[in-house]
């Protein structure tokens, strides 16, 4: 079921370093004056290896989708680099950019708006070949489109239908087929199942899993559903307010989170077993996410963290293996941007300001 685990030695296919995206806030009609900026993405680093699935989780507005758009070059970063096989793709344009686009494709969140309602399925999936005619000779395109429909589990006879004749899950399969048409190496999936029914979510996730093995794909899988991310990912990065605060293998993150934000996030995952639910304790964070126009100094999570101390306001914690955990090894020793990183499985009692679930209602 789980995708083939990528070995740590596999070559990196995408290297993201120091990625920033700040949207300027301006005032004035004729003479625009910049009065600040929305720091949607504020220093993101990660590496995606060949054949691997990197999950990125985080709450709404933390910059996940902006990262996705920058990876497929729909947005230009303010600073930083995205290296595809060693080549920085953020500064490419024209022919070189078009060539790179062949290798990095995207699957969109909403299957209802991501397919042009006035194009047939055949035209939608075949469009990549119109844009990149060198991939498939003209006479071969229809056959390839039918093959792709078959690969994603749709009847090839549906080639002349329009998107509105399909259900949400089927539409998402069409979106995936379009993404696969150019045989990319990387697929960036921005919440690919969030808009679907739970039952259909599983089908689409399993399809993506199967395609990964079949086509040797690397995924950047963005979602806010923690259990789905765990199901498909080899590694998981947790984002908060434009930055990755913790990253590691899925078991490291889910069973041994060391960043307080990850612990709080995991404690909010619904538990299907009522017996276990009775005994589990939830971490309720105080306050709201700060505005991305005005990010707190030092550690950006300190305003809501129960562990926050003087040091957190002064020093920005680096995303590295915390020194005091480094020596011990084991699953706790993964990158975590916290001065006081500490293992604490959420299912056991978490330290600090812990509120029982009942107190919430």
């Amino acid at each position: 079921m789980a995708s083939a685990p990528a070995t740590a030695s596999a070559e990196p296919i995408l290297e993201v370093s120091g990625l920033y995206k700040h949207y300027p806030l301006t005032q004035g009609i004729l003479f625009k004056k910049q009065v600040g900026s929305v720091k949607a993405v504020d220093g993101v680093d990660f590496t995606l290896r060949r054949g691997e699935t990197l999950g990125i989780v985080g709450e709404s507005g933390c910059g996940k989708s902006t990262v996705a758009k920058m990876l497929v070059n729909l947005e230009r970063p303010t600073a930083g680099s995205i290296k595809y096989k060693g080549e920085d793709i953020t500064k490419l344009s024209g022919r070189a950019l078009k060539a790179v686009r062949r290798n990095i494709q995207m699957v969109f969140q909403d299957p209802y708006t991501s397919l042009n309602p006035r194009m047939t399925v055949g035209d939608i999936i075949g469009e990549p070949y119109d844009i990149h005619p060198e991939v498939a000779p003209k006479g071969d395109r229809r056959r390839r489109v039918r093959e792709l429909l078959d690969v994603v589990g749709l009847n090839p006879e549906y080639i002349n239908r329009y998107p509105h004749q399909f259900s949400g899950g089927q539409r998402q399969r069409i979106g995936i087929a379009r993404g696969l048409a150019l045989r990319p190496e990387v697929i960036v999936a921005d919440e690919p199942v969030s808009a679907l029914d739970v039952s259909v979510q599983a089908q689409v996730i399993n399809l993506m899993d199967r395609l990964q093995n079949e086509f040797d794909l690397s995924y950047v899988f963005i979602a806010h559903d923690l259990s789905i991310v765990r199901h498909i990912s080899d590694r998981v990065g947790v984002m908060y307010l434009g930055r990755i605060v913790e990253i590691g293998k899925d078991a490291e993150i889910y069973d041994h989170p060391t960043h307080p934000y990850t612990q709080a996030l995991l404690s909010a995952v619904p538990v299907p077993d009522p017996e276990a639910r009775e005994h589990r304790e939830r971490i309720i964070l105080a306050g709201d996410v700060p505005s991305p126009t005005n990010i707190p100094s030092g550690c950006r999570f300190r305003t809501r963290c129960w562990k926050a101390q003087e040091r957190c306001a002064q020093e920005v914690p680096a995303l590295v293996v915390p020194p005091h955990l480094r020596g011990r090894g084991g699953p706790e020793a993964h990158d975590s941007a916290c001065h006081f990183a500490e293992a604490g499985s959420v299912m056991r009692s978490a330290p600090g300001q812990v509120v029982p679930t009942e107190a919430e209602s």
Partner: protein, 326 residues
């Protein structure tokens, strides 16, 4: 037939959702459904596109057929009015002024003693020429400028928006009196030019808004991520999804342009007699409406049918370009 297959498809999808408790069953169901394929999908071998599907749809649409026949007839009598009207529209006999219909003169005579039937037939040329040419000019100029402004935005968009504001501020009648009074030519072209000049901002605004709405859709982003050029984005993705309001407004505007030509002619700055147009006849006949209503009703009726035909045509085309309505 396509409607039927769509319904059965929806019904199957519905059960698929409902019985979704068991994932395996649901997936099997999906596969079965995809393998089965209801009848009526048509042969999958022949590629189909939006335009070929729209044409197939239009050919079977009675509204399109009726309005198309009316328009073809209008075009025919505009080109060869003598084919169905033997007399001359300028041969008038004051002695017969305001007389009702008689043998050989089914529509009767107008205030000048001219044959209303002949004048209505001959008037089609001017009115159809003004309506069609002005609408085409307005639609092309307005939608191209509006689409470019909406798609690229920025400084060009701001400048264009301010220019449309300026044009909106010009009163049509006053503008017509000022601009057309200096024109001495008694042809339809100055009138068409004037209507295009004042009419394009309306379409431009609508096209701009529709393009801005359409370009925010994910499918435009998806095409961009595939490496599509701006012209492909505009022509393949944005234009077909933004054209509906332009068609609707343009077909309604066609009627108002024919009426505007009549108004301008009435004021003496449009076409002048001896030109023949429905507008001239309507304005000439309106003082005698009590004595000779027929002189007003026939050209007005022709105008109404023409406008209606174009609106119906626009409606049918708009619907045919929306696959969701099939």
């Amino acid at each position: 037939m396509p409607d039927q297959s769509f319904q059965s498809e929806g019904a199957i999808a519905g059960t698929g959702m409902g019985g979704a408790m068991d994932l395996a069953t649901s997936e099997a169901e999906t596969l079965e459904k995809t393998a089965g394929g209801p009848a009526g999908t048509g042969p999958a071998g022949r590629p189909r596109s939006l335009w070929s599907d729209a044409w197939r749809d239009l050919r079977r649409n009675p509204v399109f057929i009726v309005s198309g026949l009316i328009i073809l007839f209008l075009v025919f009598i505009s080109l060869w009015p003598s084919a169905i009207a033997s007399g001359s529209p300028l041969k008038c006999d004051l002695a017969k002024a305001q007389q009702g219909s008689g043998p050989g003169h089914p529509f009767g005579y107008d205030g000048q003693g001219c044959d209303v039937y002949t004048r209505t037939v001959y008037g089609a040329r001017t009115s159809v020429a003004v309506g069609v040419c002005a609408t085409l000019g307005v639609a092309i100029l307005g939608s191209v400028l509006g689409a470019l402004a909406g798609f690229f935005g920025g400084l060009g968009d701001s400048i264009l928006s301010r220019i449309t504001d300026v044009f909106f501020a010009i009163p049509v009648i006053l503008g017509g009196l000022v601009l057309l009074s200096v024109v001495t030519s008694n042809s339809v072209w100055p009138v068409i030019g004037f209507i295009v000049l004042l009419g394009w901002p309306q379409i431009s605004r609508i096209a701009r808004g529709a393009v801005i709405t359409a370009k925010q859709n994910d499918y435009v982003q998806a095409a961009r991520a595939l490496g599509a050029s701006n012209s492909r984005l505009l022509l393949r993705h944005i234009a077909p999804n933004a054209i509906a309001p332009v068609i609707v407004v343009a077909t309604i505007a066609l009627g108002t342009y024919i009426a505007l030509e009549a108004t301008l002619s009435y004021l003496g700055v449009g076409l002048k007699p001896p030109s023949v147009s429905w507008g001239i006849d309507i304005s000439a006949a309106s003082p005698y409406i009590r004595n000779a209503p027929h002189a007003l009703l026939w050209p007005s009726g022709a105008l109404a049918i023409t406008v209606l035909a174009f609106i119906m045509l626009g409606d049918a085309v708009r619907d045919a370009l929306d696959p969701r309505l099939r």
